[in-house]
């Protein structure tokens, strides 16, 4: 348990979150959602604190974190890019859009750029199929994206890029 990435006083906030849910193991997923909201990701130490607090094995917490695609153990970039790979987006060319992000950011799906500005992921349908292909960056939804838009979008978010 060396090399903490999150300061101890911040980890104390986890106690408050767990307490809010009555320290019930059944609320584990809700607790993890809140913890990820707070820290941006769920590193090992966060999982250990939650496990101890709820009185369940850390392995169980880890099992849940890795089961669900919404939870991540690596920090996301400042601008988390998610390309929708639902069927509607797929048949309207989402793959090419994703390839363009890969090419310009020089990272693969699941990775974060070295300067922590961008991370890239693909997600399941966001239910905005009328706008396919859809890209979500942070909370903003970009609709009907074509590969040629990607450079402009990235430059909008980070002037120095591309």
């Amino acid at each position: 348990m060396s090399g903490y990435k999150i300061a101890c006083d911040k980890l104390k906030e986890l106690d408050a979150i767990c307490e809010e849910f009555g320290d019930r193991p059944g609320e584990l997923i809700n607790i993890l959602h809140r913890a990820q909201d707070r820290f941006g990701y769920l590193p090992e130490e966060v999982q250990r604190v939650i496990a101890r607090r709820l009185g369940i094995p850390a392995a169980k917490v880890y099992g849940v974190v890795t089961f669900y695609s919404f939870f991540t153990m690596t920090p996301k970039g400042e601008h988390p890019v998610s390309v929708c790979m639902g069927t509607a987006c797929y048949v309207r060319g989402a793959e090419k859009v994703l390839d363009e992000f890969r090419r310009l950011l020089k990272i693969d799906v699941g990775q974060t750029t070295a300067d922590n500005k961008f991370s890239l992921s693909s997600l399941r349908c966001v239910g905005a199929c009328g706008l396919a292909p859809v890209v979500m960056i942070g909370k903003k939804v970009y609709g009907q994206v074509v590969p040629d838009d990607v450079e402009r979008i990235l430059r909008e978010l980070d002037g120095d890029r591309c």
Partner: protein, 592 residues
């Protein structure tokens, strides 16, 4: 007079919120804020041309409205009583502007039951729901009917589960009500996972109170006092509207202790999903709500006997629940009069893919695919040829031209080798390679398999590998046979509904598009020109003028040639990215 502005996720992404604000500003400036209301409603269904604005009572339907148009709508339409022609929907058939929604082909054949309030009311205002008979069904159940009467009514209506399986809802309620005493739960399955389906999201965003009312009716029927909504974390707007609706219902005494002053009490809690497709399966969903990995369990015991925390649990999908209040108010006979022999009522479909009118529609069961795709959907995009429609999500199958006149209902779709699923309909045209589509779904399944049973975890991975070989041009005819055998084994032996139906995309494409598989395997070519390793790019020397645009843009330096002389592509270097085709102004480059 009212101005309704669609604020579902799709239209919201294109700034419908700002449109509402601008409309209100313009109304205030014109001194009309007391007479005309600008309301943010749920989804109109016509997502293709969003953001959509509708004026009530004349039903004028404006499409692709921008915030800058707000002032003109108020000045022209509201003050001047003249329609803003340029914002009216243009019929793609004859190019004419259509004055109102009643004359749009998209709406003509629709019958809205589950979506009855979506796009008509402000989902964040309980009074508007009540004004449209909201909570009247609950009142009637609690004060005039016994729980058995309520279950009987739902049984007689013939309502079947809209989430995929099509299990009779009334029977499910009856089984749960007969289970041993003790605590029982009503669960609303809002873990809409099928890519390309967004009806549940639209209902929760557009009419959240209908779900609350239905859960209470179910709770009364089966004897439960707690309801749980299991909702995807990817749907923040739906979560927010549901929370608002729950708080409003509680404040009005329509939810909580002693509802309508009767002995009946009910509370609703929200549980979040965390991105796992398998959690749409009811036993996996229940495990997930208990804070565990969402792995399905063997049935029996069914949730009706031992579900959430081992208590009898009734799990219904959002769309199923949305139909419940209206069945109570209008009667089981009315509902049963709609639809086909064994599939009653209406079904919501999410039309997406290569179709002109992408959106959310609701039609009576028994409507044909042709009516849905060509009349409501407006046909195939860019005048291309229809190839297939994928129904039922990753567990469903592809239907082809020969199925176009089949009436859509639960049993006909299964007989045709697909399934109803949650109602996603992805339309594909001649440019879509069916082998690649099957592979797309398989890859989805491989990623989403929970890993508990071997057929699904390992079998689907093997299927995906064979498909990879086929699309790379490295497969033999033996592989096709292997694909067929393995699909059958997975179907027969997987643990849960997800696993058993996972090879369906392969089975149905093998059946309907066997020629396409053979073309990949025997002729090493992809008829739809989608599978990159099987393509050859070439330059037609008679058209090429040697402008050098292609060679300058080629990322792999695969195009060579002298200026003003025809160029050639070196197939060994070509990465098949298609950049040259996009850049060539003379259409000199082809693919074979």
């Amino acid at each position: 007079m009212q101005i309704l502005v669609c604020s579902g996720t799709g239209c919201n992404a294109s700034s419908s919120r700002t449109i509402v604000e601008r409309l209100r500003e313009a109304l205030r400036a014109a001194g009309l804020e007391r007479d005309v209301e600008a309301i943010a409603t749920g989804c109109f269904g016509f997502c293709e041309k969003g953001p959509v604005v509708k004026i009530i009572p004349d039903n004028t339907f404006y499409v692709q409205v921008a915030p800058e148009d707000a002032a003109e709508i108020v000045a022209e339409h509201i003050v001047g009583s003249r329609r803003v022609e340029r914002l009216l929907y243009r019929d793609p058939k004859d190019g004419r502007r259509v004055s109102d929604s009643k004359h749009m082909d998209f709406y003509k054949k629709q019958l809205r039951v589950a979506l009855r309030n979506c796009g008509f009311i402000d989902p964040e205002n309980i009074d508007e729901y009540i004004a449209r008979d909201g909570y009247a069904a609950l009142a009637r159940c609690l004060t005039e009917r016994t729980p058995d009467d309520v279950i009987g009514e739902i049984e007689r209506s013939g309502l079947r589960g809209r989430g995929g399986g099509g299990f009779p809802t009334g029977l499910k309620w009856k089984l749960t009500s007969r289970s041993r005493a003790g605590r029982k739960y009503v669960v609303c399955n809002a873990d809409e996972g099928d890519p390309g389906a967004f009806m549940d999201r639209s209902i929760m965003e557009g009419d959240p109170h209908s779900i609350i009312e239905a859960m209470e009716i179910c709770g009364y029927g089966i004897g439960a006092d707690v309801g749980l909504v299991y909702i995807r974390a990817e749907y923040p707007l739906a979560v927010r509207r549901l929370r608002t609706a729950i708080a409003q219902a509680e404040a009005c005494g329509l939810l909580g202790e002693r509802v309508f002053g009767t002995e009946f009490s009910f509370r609703i809690e929200i549980r979040y999903g965390a991105g796992a497709f398998v959690c749409g399966e009811e036993t996996a969903l229940i495990r997930s709500m208990e804070g565990r990995r969402g792995e399905p369990t063997m049935k029996p015991p069914f949730p009706a006997e031992a579900g959430y925390l081992e208590c009898p649990t009734n799990v219904n999908n959002v769309e199923t629940l949305a139909s419940v209040p209206v069945i109570i108010t209008r009667g089981a006979e009315w509902f049963a009069s709609i639809g086909t022999e064994r599939s009653k009522g209406t079904k919501v479909f999410a039309l997406a893919g290569k179709i002109n009118n992408v959106g959310l529609i609701e039609v009576p069961m028994g409507t044909t695919l042709r009516e849905v795709i060509y009349e409501i959907g407006g046909g195939i995009k860019n005048g291309k040829r229809f190839k297939a429609v994928q129904t039922g999500g990753p567990s469903g199958g592809c239907l082809t031209e020969k199925h176009l006149d089949t009436p859509i209902d639960f049993d006909n779709l299964v007989a045709a080798g697909s399934m109803m699923g949650s109602g996603g309909m992805i339309v594909m045209d001649e440019d879509d390679c069916m082998v690649a589509v099957a592979k797309f779904y398989l890859d989805f399944i491989v990623e989403e398999s929970c890993g508990k049973c071997t057929p699904c975890r390992v079998g689907n991975k093997r299927l995906s590998e064979i498909l990879e070989k086929i699309t790379a041009g490295k497969a033999s005819m033996d592989d096709l046979e292997q694909l067929r055998i393995l699909s059958g084994v997975i179907k027969d032996t997987a643990l849960c509904g997800l696993g058993q139906t996972s090879p369906n995309p392969v089975i149905s494409t093998l059946e309907h598009f066997y020629d396409e598989y053979v073309a990949h395997v025997a002729d090493k070519c992809c008829p739809a020109k989608r599978c990159k390793p099987l393509l050859t790019y070439y330059i037609n020397p008679e058209i090429c003028v040697g402008c050098t645009v292609c060679s300058r843009n080629c990322p792999a330096d695969a195009v060579v040639g002298e200026r003003k002389k025809p160029h050639v592509i070196n197939p060994a270097l070509c990465v098949r990215c298609g950049t040259c085709i996009e850049k060539c102004r003379f259409k000199a480059i082809g693919v074979k």
